[in-house]
């Protein structure tokens, strides 16, 4: 890896090297200044749980959380292995015996919570996209429809997730009744809340993009007598892809923010719950651990946006 990066540097001309250096240097300076300021300012802030944690404590807790996760995994695989051995023995005695393997009952670790949150946010966002893009196309194509639903969009768009949450919780627990549920109710509640809050930017941007297709291109479509579906597929959709992606990126950002809030409030598994549990726990390390979660939330949000950007570059014609 190091050899390859040195190779890569050697291939750059001096000018490019300076440019690359500048590009990397300024953000690096920004981060270092921030860390220095944090380091100096943190001890000044006293809380009931001791001084606010500095970068060093947070780093240490990050390692700690990783260690806990590794230990937990270790124990889980031992637990499974033990059961397998026992089952093998039972089957050796009696080949017709019914054997089961129970999953490890330990509490989810920080890393597990990240995984849960990611799955939830992506499901909620995917559902929002599946609803918002087709609806946006319909609204954008039909001026009357747009006029009819516009007030509703304007009213629902600014609603906070905290307001939706109790309603969603009640509706989910009332309607999703099954003996062998495919999803956990907490997952559904978080996911639906995410969907409800994040679908608006995609919906609005899609309808605006669809309504703004170049009139000349619409005339071409009319002269060619394209069928409705071909018109949508070949003219309307490609033309509004840039706008749709702008909406999708805003939506995904909102989805991630909303999810953390929803998990905290509803105590459903995920990063939000991790933060809340640490807050309730109130040990001397809690603040550092919450800070690790804060940084992880920010970093994951950033990564999600980057991934969307990459997809946009692949899909959109104007990139």
């Amino acid at each position: 890896m190091a050899a390859r990066s040195r190779n890569f540097l050697a291939r750059l001309s001096p000018n490019e090297l300076v440019a690359a250096g500048k590009e990397a240097l300024l953000p690096l300076i920004g981060i270092l200044v921030f860390l220095g300021f944090w380091h100096l300012a943190a001890p000044q802030v006293q809380t009931s749980l001791g001084a606010f944690p500095g970068p060093a404590q947070v780093w240490e807790q990050a390692g700690q959380l990783w260690q806990e996760h590794a230990n937990q995994r270790e124990r889980a695989s031992q637990f499974i292995a033990m059961q397998e051995q026992r089952n093998a023995r039972i089957l050796a005695d009696n080949p017709d015996a019914e054997v089961r393997i129970r999953s490890y009952p330990g509490a989810p670790t920080f890393i597990d919570q990240i995984g849960t949150s990611l799955v939830t946010v992506l499901s909620g966002f995917a559902l929002a996209t599946l609803i918002a893009v087709p609806l946006g196309i319909v609204f954008g194509l039909n001026r009357y429809f747009q006029a009819a639903v516009n007030p509703l969009i304007q009213i629902f768009k600014p609603v906070s997730p905290l307001a939706w949450l109790p309603l969603v919780t009640m509706v989910v627990s009332a309607t999703y009744v099954s003996d062998d549920p495919m999803f956990q109710k907490s997952f559904l509640t978080s996911m639906i809340t995410v969907t409800l809050c994040s679908l608006w930017p995609t919906l609005i941007n899609t309808s605006v993009g669809v309504a703004a297709v170049n009139p000349d291109l619409l005339n071409v479509s009319k002269v060619l007598k394209l069928s409705f579906w071909t018109h949508v597929r070949k003219v309307v959709l490609p033309s509004s892809v840039p706008m749709i992606f702008t909406g999708l990126r805003v939506s995904l950002g909102i989805a991630w923010m909303v999810l953390i809030a929803a998990e905290m409030l509803a105590q459903s598994p995920g990063l939000g719950k991790f933060v809340w549990d640490e807050f309730q726990n109130g040990s001397s390390q809690s603040l550092s651990r919450i800070m690790v979660a804060v940084l992880a939330i920010g970093f994951i949000g950033f990564l999600l946006d980057r991934v969307m950007l990459l997809i946009q570059k692949k899909v959109a014609w104007n990139e």
Binding site: L217, N219, V220, K222, V223, L224, T230, V235, V241, N318
Partner: protein, 292 residues
């Protein structure tokens, strides 16, 4: 040849504007024979595009109507292909795919895949654009894009080809080249062509007839000039042909004596800005209260 192919009768076009209806065209009558090349000429904003759009079916006349081969025109269709003023290619499709979209739509049933591919390439070759088949419109010049727009229209094998200032945005050399190719193509295919132009020489060189429109509002056909010059025509040889010079003279006198525009200085500035900026539609809208 003598049977009427396309006929406009008593066409009136009134646009709804916030200040009430604006009558752009009033009692436009026009008969066009099959295979005729007709130019529409007139001052900016007189209603040439409106006439073309009515024939295309993109606009509905408020009175009167348009009949093609005995059938009333009331919606657009590929048998009346349009070359738009600013090429109107889909920016996300390559040159080839732009033509393909049209060809697949029109010949879905009558041509197989290979025939369609050959036909697309043939039409791109006709306008000398086969070399750029895989480029996007954003990667080629305005003149090249305009040529692709023409190829797309020709590829539909239209019985009427409608062109709204097809060469307006091009430099003189490209324009001359395209005019020559258009003459050849039209000779070969014998399409009926209606072309809007601002350029007197272009009109005389290419047309069998020049329809001169009066100034709007309530514009109508002012004069109808038959150009009786043998084909194929050669621009260099014609330059000092007595008949050619005479026809040219007729059009110029119509435009600059009989229909001289009495405009205020400011609106003329706006008009010249429009030809430079290529945003004529916008300027027309500003100009409209002055002329109404």
């Amino acid at each position: 040849m003598s049977k009427t192919h396309l006929e406009l009768t008593g066409v009136e076009m009134a646009f709804d504007t916030p200040k009430g209806p604006f009558v752009a065209l009033d009692n436009v009558n026009l008969k066009i024979q099959k295979g005729e090349f007709v130019s529409l000429i007139g001052h900016s904003g007189c209603g040439k595009s409106t006439v073309l759009n009515i024939v295309a079916g993109l606009l509905q006349a408020s009175k009167g109507g348009c009949v093609l081969n005995g059938h009333e025109v009331n919606s657009p269709g590929p048998e009346r292909a349009v070359v738009f003023q600013n090429h109107a290619l889909m920016p996300w499709l390559t040159v080839y795919e732009n033509v393909e979209l049209a060809v697949r739509q029109v010949f879905r049933k009558s041509m197989n895949r290979k025939e369609r591919r050959d036909w697309i390439t043939h039409n791109l070759e006709l306008v000398n654009m086969a070399h750029a088949a895989n480029k996007r419109p954003g990667e080629i010049s305005g003149g090249m894009a305009q040529r692709v727009g023409i190829a797309r229209a020709l590829a539909m094998k239209p019985s009427v080809l409608l062109m709204d200032e097809p060469f307006g945005a091009l430099d003189a050399l490209t324009r001359a080249h395209l005019q020559d190719s258009l003459m050849e193509i039209q000779q070969e295919l014998n399409n009926t062509v209606i072309m809007i132009t601002h350029d007197v020489d272009e009109a005389v060189l290419l047309s069998d007839r020049i329809i001169m429109m009066t100034n709007g509002p309530a514009a109508t056909v002012g004069e109808d000039l038959h150009i009786d010059l043998p084909r194929p025509r050669n621009r260099v040889a014609l330059a000092d042909d007595a008949k050619y010079v005479h026809y040219r003279q007729e059009v110029l006198s119509f435009l600059y004596e009989k229909q001289r525009k009495l405009e205020s200085l400011s609106s003329r500035r706006a008009a010249s800005a429009s030809t430079q900026g290529g945003e004529s539609a916008k300027v027309e809208k500003e100009k409209q209260p002055a002329s109404a």
